[in-house]
């Protein structure tokens, strides 16, 4: 209670007393109560009732921070006056390690950035290297890449929806979303042998072909996915608690969001239709029909709505790509970059040397630098690579969407309640592995 609060209380007590007198309801007992209360307020304010701004430390170990993130909250009562994120608890020096590794050795490192959507990270990295090499990827590989990237988008958004609802207190959504996520993760396992750290994309194509049974399973998945989305929505869309916790929370205007460099659903929730798949089409995205869902209010609910809508679009993209899937190689024939066929390696000396050199030194990239951004489920994941002409990057910078989002955290959480912090973390779809790199 501040000075103003004390004045207000005394004033209202005074007013009540006058009113009581005026209406003739004042009794001796009431008179006594009021004066004691008045005294108590006066005494209390000077001695026991003290007010001050409260500094609360949240994290680094907190289930809602989706990793290890610490935030210092400056509180006025339950209102947030300032929120200072403290990053770096999961900093593993990926950028430094990358300077000592060949390009193919870096692909597994990118799995560990955003461990919820490893495929998307792989894709962002190989795309940057391909841009540096000016390498053309076979058409079938482009389609497979699109399909797998969209599978990953669905996996990521399902994970996000489950955990966001869990953070808010709706436990059951989590079970439903993880049921479908499991189906896709099993398909990843069939594709490349791993469920989370997939290491599937290669410079010049992908590691293995999309087999018939995976295609059939995918068809089955996209055909049955729409009713599942409706199922999640019946749990949330008109749920009063969900609405109260997400509507008009963490509002950011489109202009501010652009100024902060936000990307992905976090930006599109504010009405900006920036999506790299449309702005700078790559892979098969310009050969199929799909839309970019855009929000209006820039609050958590809009971002939720966008992610759900994106899952529908992803399912549609997957179906169209499967229909159009061309025949042909899934890896580039340019053996300066890709490994020579294993059968020839075992029988031909030159091919063996070639294979050996690709493993030990890696393929060489022309000197220069490039930035290439890819639309991952969380936003624009960019790789800035400086090459000095050797088989290893001279410098690699990862533009992580989670890191950039944390820059806007203070701006977006000011003025909201302490309980909203958990929801605001969730709305960025933040993963600390990517944020801290």
């Amino acid at each position: 209670m501040d000075r103003q609060g004390k004045g207000f209380l005394l004033e209202s007590l005074e007013k009540e007393k006058i009113e009581a007198e005026a209406t003739g309801t004042a009794t001796v007992r009431r008179e006594i109560t009021l004066s004691t209360l008045r005294q108590a307020v006066l005494n209390g304010l000077d001695s026991s009732i003290k007010t001050e701004q409260f500094l609360l430390n949240m994290g680094p170990q907190h289930p809602s921070t989706h990793g290890v993130l610490r935030v210092l909250l400056d509180l006025d009562g339950e209102r947030i006056k300032k929120a200072v994120p403290d990053l770096g608890y999961l900093h593993r020096g990926t950028e430094k390690i990358a300077e000592y590794r060949t390009y193919n050795q870096i692909i597994p490192l990118t799995d560990r950035l955003d461990y919820v959507s490893a495929m998307a990270n792989n894709y962002a990295f190989v795309r940057a290297v391909e841009k540096l090499l000016q390498l053309k990827v076979p058409e079938r590989a482009e389609y497979i890449r699109t399909i797998v990237a969209e599978m990953q988008r669905i996996v990521n958004h399902l994970f996000w929806l489950g955990t966001q609802a869990l953070d808010i207190g709706a436990m059951s959504v989590f079970f439903y979303t993880f049921r479908e996520r499991e189906v896709l993760l099993d398909l990843f396992e069939k594709l490349c042998g791993a469920r989370l750290t997939t290491n599937y994309y290669r410079v010049g194509g992908v590691e293995s072909d999309l087999t018939r049974d995976v295609v059939d399973a995918l068809y089955h998945f996209v055909d049955t996915f729409e009713p599942h989305i409706r199922e999640y929505n019946t749990l949330l869309e008109t749920n009063r608690i969900w609405l109260a916790r997400t509507k008009h929370i963490a509002v950011i205007t489109g202009e501010d969001a652009v100024n902060f460099g936000l990307s992905g659903p976090t930006l599109r929730g504010s009405g900006v239709d920036y999506d790299l798949r449309k702005y700078e089409p790559y892979a098969a995205y310009d050969q199929i029909e799909w839309e970019v869902p855009v929000g209006q209010n820039g609050d958590i609910y809009d971002r939720y709505w966008i992610r759900v809508e994106e899952m529908r679009q992803s399912a549609s993209i997957i179906r169209q790509c499967l229909d159009k899937l061309p025949e042909g190689p899934f890896m580039t024939e340019d053996h300066k970059v890709s490994f020579p066929p294993k059968g020839r390696v075992m029988h031909n000396m030159e091919t063996l040397i070639h294979h050996f050199l690709l493993v030990v030194e890696g393929f060489r990239t022309p000197p220069g630098d490039t930035y290439c951004g890819t639309e991952t489920p969380k936003g624009e994941l960019g790789f800035y690579i400086v090459s000095d002409g050797s088989g290893k990057p001279y410098r690699m910078k990862i533009r992580a969407p989670s890191f950039v989002s944390m820059g806007a955290f203070d701006h977006m959480s000011r003025g909201y309640m302490i309980a909203d912090i958990v929801t605001i973390f969730g709305t960025y779809d933040i993963v600390m592995g990517e944020c801290d790199r």
Binding site: K96, V258, N259, G261, E280, T370, G407
Partner: protein
């Protein structure tokens, strides 16, 4: 020459030192002195309108006279164009102007550059380390002269062999 580069050359002849187009990207080279004006123009002027900040990063070239290169990447949502802006600064005075007043998103990016490369940003509201611990005093990890294994803390642990010393030979039974 790209029209944006041409316009920048014309308007800021003493700040813009060159430009280059490679791999579909436009790169503009600036002098450190007066770069803030150019950034302001890049953000505000309707002919540029680079309103979206993509990244701020840095590269270390220890052999060069101007050791550090600060790289800014911006994107124009209305014109769908990306630009890279580069500034070279010497090791003796590694300071550039902060662009937080123009793009708010630069705050964390500049902090990261400071943390990793030791480049200071004049006018930054809160220039602290961001990924490394606040009291980290072993230098700047992404500089080329910083060893991959690190230096300092690791050496203080008696059970970790020193990386610059050779390992003692294993006892016979363990071989």
């Amino acid at each position: 020459m790209h029209p944006v580069a041409e316009s920048l050359h014309r308007r800021f002849p003493e700040v813009v030192t060159g430009s280059r187009e490679a791999l579909g990207d436009l790169t503009v080279y600036l002098r450190e002195n007066g770069a803030l004006e150019v950034f302001q123009a890049l953000h505000d002027d309707p002919e540029f309108r680079y309103d979206y900040i993509v990244d701020v990063t840095s590269v270390d070239y220890p052999m060069d006279q101007d050791r550090f290169e600060v790289v800014y990447i911006f994107y124009s949502l209305s014109r769908r164009h990306r630009i890279m802006v580069k500034i070279r600064i010497p090791e003796s005075h590694p300071v550039v102007d902060s662009i937080v007043s123009i793009w708010k998103g630069a705050e964390f990016m500049e902090r990261e550059v400071y943390d990793m490369m030791g480049i200071q940003f004049r006018g930054h509201p809160d220039l602290r380390r961001i990924l490394m611990p606040d009291d980290y005093d072993e230098g700047y990890p992404l500089r080329k002269d910083f060893p991959l294994v690190g230096k300092g803390w690791r050496d203080e642990f008696s059970f970790v062999p020193k990386y610059h010393e050779t390992l003692p030979p294993l006892p016979k039974e363990a071989r």
